[in-house]
């Protein structure tokens, strides 16, 4: 019996156990310090539904040995292009969400292919290069958002009539497009069933993909490229596919995020989007070359849970509005922690 317990603890991982314990402690503390528990739980579920797909976008590249996708902003930019073009074309409501996905897809495929080509040139240093691919694409787009010929009055700066605003409200467009599908409201708890289902659908698709012949090849390439090559696999092609998949998932991920959040954020907003996703999957128990759908789900819940709960509980405890400071300390602290876990599971 005792062995069984130690075994399951070992499998779950001590760090995850500590984080889970901390999260439970926060949840227990919440009512005592005057925070409304149902609202908090509802918050965690919502944030999970917004971020799930972005974290899921890490999985293909981890499997093919390209490491964690620090170049997530590249995919996010594809998604942003999809969203803004969809609005520019005059689509509204749920249709604008579908069109955004359709428009974002070709951008993601093209950007992903270029990004994959680059990563195939610099095997071994993927994560560092990916970080800078992400950063530089964000900076380039900062100019592009101003220059591209957008005219929709809902998106451009009011005075000059050109150049996109930093924040664009999605009201009337795809705000809550998924969340309102089958939404469940019980008292203060609101469950965005549609978003969760959408995440489940994509997660299932990835899980299924990893069970196919090509998916198996992808995992093998990540596990030992020399072995895969000797087994007749075109390693570069498989890596390229994984990068394109990751980029496309990031594009879809940001659209899901925006529909929940209610706003499109442009310019520097995608800059730091990669780090929370990377941290979430690491906290979920993934390593640099192994990640499962379970890692994604557990990691996103834990990361988002801590990030939402800590500021609320702390604020109520010390009766001072420090939520933003505490949020930054908590989320950056989590990232730092997660990245230190990385080495533990690193290859060989």
């Amino acid at each position: 019996m005792k062995d069984k317990i130690t075994d399951s603890i070992k499998e779950f991982g001590l760090p995850r156990l500590i984080i889970t314990g901390f999260l439970l402690l926060l949840l227990i503390l919440a009512p005592f310090v005057g925070a409304d528990l149902p609202t908090q739980i509802s918050n965690i579920i919502n944030r999970f539904s917004w971020n799930g797909v972005l974290v899921l976008a890490m999985v293909p590249m981890v499997h093919s040995g390209c490491g964690l996708n620090f170049g997530l902003p590249l995919g996010i930019i594809s998604g942003l292009l999809g969203a803004t073009i969809s609005i520019e074309l005059g689509f509204t409501g749920a249709a604008s969400f579908v069109v955004a996905i359709l428009v974002a897809t070709p951008f993601a495929l093209v950007f992903g292919t270029l990004y994959g080509w680059l990563l195939n040139k610099i095997k071994g240093g993927e994560m560092m290069i990916a970080t800078y691919v992400g950063f530089s694409s964000v900076s380039l787009m900062c100019m592009m958002w101003l220059v591209l010929p957008y005219h929709s009055p809902n998106m451009v700066w009011g005075l000059s009539g050109k150049g996109l605003r930093t924040t664009i409200s999605l009201e009337g467009y795809f705000d809550q497009a998924l969340a309102h599908i089958l939404q469940i409201n019980i008292g203060n708890i609101s469950i965005p069933t549609g978003t969760l289902l959408f995440f489940a659908l994509l997660a299932f698709a990835i899980w299924a993909f990893l069970h196919t012949k090509t998916g198996t090849a992808m995992t093998a390439v990540g596990s030992n490229p020399a072995f895969a090559r000797a087994a007749g696999i075109n390693v570069d092609k498989v890596r390229m596919l994984s990068v394109v998949m990751s980029t496309w998932l990031a594009a879809i991920g940001i659209l899901v995020y925006e529909q929940g959040f209610g706003f499109i954020q442009l310019y520097m907003a995608p800059f730091y989007m990669a780090l929370p996703a990377v941290s979430a999957i690491l906290i979920g128990g993934a390593s640099v070359n192994k990640a499962s759908i379970m890692n994604v789900i557990i990691g996103t819940i834990l990361f988002q849970g801590i990030v939402t709960m800590t500021p609320t509980v702390m604020n109520n405890m010390i009766h001072m509005d420090m939520s933003e400071i505490i949020r930054i300390i908590a989320s950056m602290g989590m990232i730092l922690f997660a990245l230190t876990r990385k080495t533990e599971a690193a290859k060989r």
Binding site: A208, K213, T216, A220, S223, N224, A226, F227, G232, I233
Partner: protein, 530 residues
């Protein structure tokens, strides 16, 4: 205890367990000054663990230390780090090289023990700014190389050295330590050619004459008999035999190592491949650019259904042949299989022509170390031949058939007697011999028509060796597959193959039937050596 007549080293009741798993039980051993002790045993018998205890390796202390006592010159010692062991006069040459690639031999030999010269800067800022006394270093390196008795170039960079010389550099480093009294050699001859190994044995004899005791671990039993005074045999963590070398034979050592007698198979008289069997593989003017194993110009014909051996000294290019044909290294020339030209530099094309390859680089190329045995066995067959897949939507979705994979893996685990906890165990956790069997299973699962096997028994113990070779012979006999086997061990080739081609200087220097005499093979091996 009487310290005057005490043996140099005495181990008393040494015990060690790793988390409840007993790996050493009650080891008692004595070694006198100048004595050479041969230590043998199958992989996993506990030889390395015993040497680690003796050398104060960190992982011993980390896993709870050991039981029993070690006496050096009659005084009880217990080393908590290798530095203490070195200070007490114990030297160890590891299986893996611990040398700095970008330094030359002299620098490696005297690393961190360099003679120093004072200069005016160091007079002011302290000893750490002393310069190296290159002339003195050179002298000392020369002395220790002479002591060793094998000539190596002391100005050669480690990364440009052949493996044998790296091994000798390590030995010279140990010999350059003046306090050295006991030298542990952990399988030093595994990477050496026969000639180099002979030189090493001479060097061991020389050390023994100078009063240095040597513990010599090897799988090559003949070497033990020719150089050691005493032979100790370990099996499953127990010292099963400790005898004077003159009372032992290869057969008796093997018997106590494996606990059963291994049937000696020196010849293959029962097999005959008729002279007029059709040629199945035709290699013409093949060159392969494989670092350290360059193939210059090889033309060779392989007959259907035979086992062709490719032998030769290390570095002469025998490994380059299968690696080149299979597209893993840049190659050129003509390869024809059953009349069809096989494109080179394209691993997929070879696999599609139903070739299979068991690489000599087991851990690097041969296995997915971090995946289950199921994946290792089934992966190539799945990717190349669409086996073990369930098809949905008219073949659009090719789903992994976990049950078929489990079944085939289970089948090979039984057939090849792979020791594991189950089909889901990770390949990394298996011992070398069992990993090799997994590599074979992977190739067998492809059901190839032509199988290349490269160094199938490298680094695995006697018992596993016999099983691996038997499995190969059986596979050849039962499915009629043509096998090309590359090995550095001539005896093993002679026991397994029908014909043996000897590679020398990147060319085929001759092909002999397996029954030809060892001398004839020896002559061929040295014909064009580069």
């Amino acid at each position: 205890m009487d310290t005057v007549n005490a043996p140099l080293l005495k181990l008393q009741g040494i015990k060690k367990d790793f988390f409840g798993n007993q790996v050493l039980t009650d080891i008692n051993l004595e070694l006198r000054a100048g004595e050479v002790l041969g230590l043998c045993g199958e992989n996993g018998a506990g030889k390395s663990t015993l040497m680690k205890i003796l050398f104060g390796a960190a992982d011993i202390a980390e896993t709870g230390g050991y039981g029993g006592d070690i006496f050096l010159d009659g005084e009880k010692v217990s080393f908590s780090s290798p530095f203490e062991a070195i200070a007490a006069g114990i030297g160890m040459v590891h299986q893996e090289f611990s040398l700095i690639p970008g330094f030359d031999a002299t620098e490696n030999i005297l690393l961190n023990r360099e003679p120093e010269k004072y200069n005016f800067i160091s007079e002011i800022f302290g000893k750490r700014l002393n310069t190296l006394d290159r002339a003195e270093m050179d002298k000392r390196a020369k002395e220790s190389i002479e002591k060793m008795g094998v000539a190596i170039d002391r100005h050669m960079m480690i990364n440009t050295m052949p493996v044998g010389h790296k091994q000798f550099t390590e030995i010279a480093r140990e010999l350059s330590k003046e306090q050295l009294r006991l030298l542990i050699l952990d399988e030093p001859t595994a990477v050496l050619t026969e000639k180099e190994a002979e030189a090493l044995l001479d060097s061991i004899r020389g050390m023994s004459e100078r009063g240095i005791s040597v513990i010599f671990i090897t799988h090559r039993l003949q070497e033990i008999l020719s150089v050691c005074n005493t032979v100790a045999v370990m099996r499953d963590g127990v010292l099963v035999e400790c005898e004077k070398a003159e009372n032992m034979t290869v057969a008796s050592i093997t018997k106590s190592m494996v606990g059963r007698s291994v049937e000696g198979r020196t010849n293959n008289a029962a097999r005959t491949i008729s002279e007029d069997a059709p040629t199945v593989l035709k290699i013409d003017k093949l060159w392969v650019d494989m670092p350290g194993e360059t193939v210059r110009n090889v033309s060779l014909e392989v007959k259907k259904g035979e086992i062709l051996g490719i032998g030769g000294l290390a570095g002469q290019g025998k490994l380059g042949i299968p690696n080149g044909i299979m597209g893993l290294y840049e190659a050129g020339g003509n390869v024809e299989f059953e009349g069809k030209i096989i494109p080179l530099n394209n691993p997929r094309a070879c696999l599609d022509s139903s070739f299979a390859f068991v690489s000599e680089d087991r851990r690097g190329v041969g296995l997915l170390l971090d995946e289950s045995l199921e994946w290792n066995v089934a992966f190539p067959a799945m990717q190349i031949q669409n086996k073990f897949l369930k098809k949905y939507l008219g073949g659009l979705i090719k789903w992994r058939d976990e049950k078929a994979i489990r079944d085939v893996t289970g089948k090979y685990i039984d057939e090849l007697k792979i020791k594991c906890t189950g089909t889901k165990q990770n390949a990394r956790e298996l011992s070398g011999g069992n990993q090799q069997k997994v590599c074979l299973a992977k190739a067998f699962a492809l059901e190839p028509q032509l199988l290349f096997v490269s160094e199938p028994t490298r680094g695995i113990d006697v018992g596993a060796k016999a099983l691996v070779l038997d499995a190969l012979r059986k596979f050849n006999a039962e499915s009629g597959v043509t096998v090309v086997m590359v090995s550095s061990e001539l005896e093993e080739l002679r026991a397994t193959c029908d014909r043996i081609a000897i590679v020398s200087g990147g060319r085929i220097s001759g092909i002999l039937p397996a029954a030809a005499s060892v001398e004839d093979f020896g002559t061929l091996m040295l014909k064009d050596v580069v």
